[in-house]
């Protein structure tokens, strides 16, 4: 059962991905950009999994989806920490 909002989410996520790819040069200048980007990629992955769980390997995809949520949060938080505290050190 594919939920409409989930697809919308996913499609919007793809849109953001395209945006990312177009501006990949600029994004490199973001400090620790890899962390932030990966956080988003993983989140996108989660949305991917939540969409295809209706089609194949429901349980696994479901677990994968939620794992992805966790990983995304971790990465995002890490980035925030890094940004915040590193700058403090630098100052």
């Amino acid at each position: 059962m594919v939920q409409s909002n989930e697809i919308v989410m996913f499609i919007m996520g793809i849109g953001v991905l395209i945006f990312i790819m177009k501006n990949s040069e600029e994004l490199v200048y973001i400090p620790h950009h890899k962390l932030l980007l990966r956080s988003f990629y993983v989140l996108l992955g989660a949305w991917f999994f939540t969409n295809i769980e209706a089609l194949i390997a429901t349980q696994i995809c479901n677990i994968a989806e939620h794992v992805c949520y966790v990983c995304s949060s971790i990465l995002l938080t890490l980035w925030l920490f890094r940004m915040g505290f590193k700058k403090e050190e630098a100052e």
Partner: protein, 570 residues
């Protein structure tokens, strides 16, 4: 169950992220990202919360909000990325801007950037310093108002290179002799260059003018030029002088085995200077007879540091030999005091040598001549003597014979002077002691009577000129013959003493006999016999001396005179 755990974990971590955000709110708010992230995290948290509740099966009432959040989240991410990009761009721009400014400030040259209308956009501190204008004062002003340049030599106004760049669109290089006049009237010699600033489309968007104060360098260059000129002049002068004096210099560096010399030396000898490189080139031209001497002298100089002074012959280009005087000395020693450098001068003394030779030969000739003269004079006198002898033997008259004999004796005393001069090395002076001895030897042979002659010479070093010897010889001859004839007239034997001494009063000659002396009734001064008259005249007029006589046991005569300085006649 695991799903729920995962969701809870996600929730907790997101919360932690929120904490981090809030903790560093000031920093994030600087970048304008704080709100966006707050937004994102809030919705993410909400979404996570909904997922947890969903699993807990609590309610489905948050579903629509969950869906909304689900749509908002990716949008927020998009916004975040966008904002981050913009932010970074700005930061980078600002940073590079700041770097640029700092770079400009730290450049040691003056930098002025103008727009195409020659209005000043940027002026760095060095430029401000040199032009005397403050940044605030001149921004926006036209360049020529601030940047006043003139020609260093003529003082005429020079067009600033910026105008040229604007005309041609090409970089204009450094101009020579430009002086910048500051706002306060100070002058700085500068070197400047201007280049166009073009944008990505190759349109001219401005000109950058770079200039530097080269006053010091300029002054230094002037000094160097002057010094070089002076040095060149000095060198020319030296070379010309050496050439004039027919001199050449040389230098030998022992440690490097390097022989240096100026062109004058080979030129002096008529050779091409290019053919000469080392000392050996000169050495082989030295006259074979002088080779050893030169080698020894050079050795002494280099090994023992003895001054090198030697004259020798050296072959010229046309095959002849020139006389060279070579002088040298040690000019540098190493730490062990061994010579490492010698310098010297070479002088052409060929002409000098010729003159020397000529003088020597002339002197030789003169000496030979003088000797000849003495010899001939002696011979002539002997001839006269011989003629007298001949006449005497032919005469029957004893008085005539006696007279001639007397004259012969007088002649002998004079010719003996010439003979002794000829025999000695000295052509003008005669040893008086030796003369008297020889004269007396002659008397011993000449007089038949048994006369004892005693000679005492107290000073053997008296030397007299011919002008003194001749009269003295005559005087002695006269007095002795007088003693023999008159003093020993009635005797068969007797004794005559002759003494020679030197004192402060002068030269003293004593002649005495043990004869009968003068007849008692005769006064010496009145006695005008020819012999004594001559004696008195010679002593007084020629020798300018004095004669004393004493009549004790026989006659005693004492003659005192001083050696006169005769005018040189020859």
């Amino acid at each position: 169950m695991t799903i729920l755990t995962l969701d809870i974990v996600a929730f907790i971590i997101s919360t932690a992220g929120l904490v981090a955000l809030l903790w560093n709110w000031k920093y994030f708010s600087k970048c304008n990202l704080a709100l966006l992230f707050l937004f994102l995290l809030s919705f993410t948290l909400f979404y996570n919360f909904c997922l947890i509740i969903e699993w807990g099966g609590i309610t489905k009432v948050l579903d629509p909000y969950e869906n909304m959040a689900g749509a908002i989240i990716p949008m927020t991410w998009a916004f975040i990325f966008y904002a981050l990009i913009i932010n970074n761009k700005n930061t980078r721009l600002e940073e590079s801007h700041g770097n640029l400014k700092r770079t400009l400030h730290s450049i040691g040259d003056g930098v002025i950037v103008t727009d195409p209308k020659t209005e000043i956009k940027i002026i760095n501190p060095v430029a401000q310093n040199l032009t005397g204008w403050n940044s605030e004062e001149c921004l926006g002003k036209e360049l020529q108002e601030v940047f006043k340049i003139v020609n260093t030599n003529t003082g005429e106004r020079v067009q600033n290179p910026v105008k040229e760049v604007l005309q041609n669109g090409q970089t204009v290089g450094l101009a020579n002799h430009t002086t910048l006049i500051s706002k306060t009237g100070e002058e700085h010699a500068i070197a400047d260059s201007a280049a166009p600033v073009k944008n990505a489309n190759n349109t001219l968007i401005g000109v950058v003018l770079v200039f530097r104060d080269i006053t010091e360098k300029y002054k230094m260059n002037q000094k160097i030029r002057k010094k070089t000129k002076n040095l060149q002049e000095y060198k020319n002068r030296l070379e010309a002088t050496m050439k004039l004096g027919n001199l050449a210099w040389w230098e030998y560096k022992l440690d490097e085995d390097n022989f240096l010399f100026n062109d004058q030396w080979p030129k002096m000898l008529g050779y091409n200077p290019d053919k000469f490189e080392k000392y050996a080139d000169f050495e082989k031209l030295i006259h074979p007879d002088d080779h050893e001497r030169v080698k020894t002298a050079k050795n002494n100089l280099e090994k023992h540091g003895e001054m090198y002074r030697i004259d020798y012959r050296i072959k010229t280009n046309d095959g002849n030999y020139k006389w060279i005087y070579d002088i040298g000395n040690v000019t540098a020693r190493n730490s062990r005091n061994a010579p490492i450098k010698t310098n010297g001068v070479v002088v052409d003394i060929t002409d000098n040598k010729r003159v020397e030779e000529r003088i020597r030969s002339e002197l030789q000739q003169k000496q030979t001549l003088l000797k000849e003269l003495s010899h001939r004079t002696k011979n002539n006198m002997q001839q006269i003597s011989s003629m007298l002898s001949l006449k005497a033997t032919r005469s029957k008259n004893t008085a005539v014979q006696k007279a001639l004999d007397e004259i012969k004796e007088r002649i002998y005393s004079m010719s003996l002077v010439h003979k002794m001069l000829y025999d000695s090395q000295n052509l003008s002076r005669l040893n008086l002691g030796k003369y008297i001895n020889r004269l007396v030897s002659h008397f011993r042979r000449a007089y038949s009577k048994n006369i004892q002659f005693k000679v005492s010479i107290n000073t053997s070093k008296i030397e007299v000129l011919i002008d003194t010897a001749i009269p003295l010889g005559l005087i002695i001859n006269e007095l002795i013959s007088n003693s023999i004839q008159h003093g020993f007239e009635k005797q068969d034997k007797g004794e005559i003493s002759i003494g020679l001494t030197s004192s402060e009063e002068g030269i003293i000659v004593d002649i005495s006999d043990n004869g009968q002396g003068l007849p008692n009734n005769l006064d010496f001064d009145q006695y005008s016999g020819m012999g004594l008259k001559i004696v008195k005249g010679l002593v007084k007029d020629q020798l300018e001396g004095e004669i004393y006589f004493e009549k004790s046991q026989g006659m005693k005569y004492r003659i005192i005179f001083t050696q006169k300085q005769y005018k040189a006649r020859v």
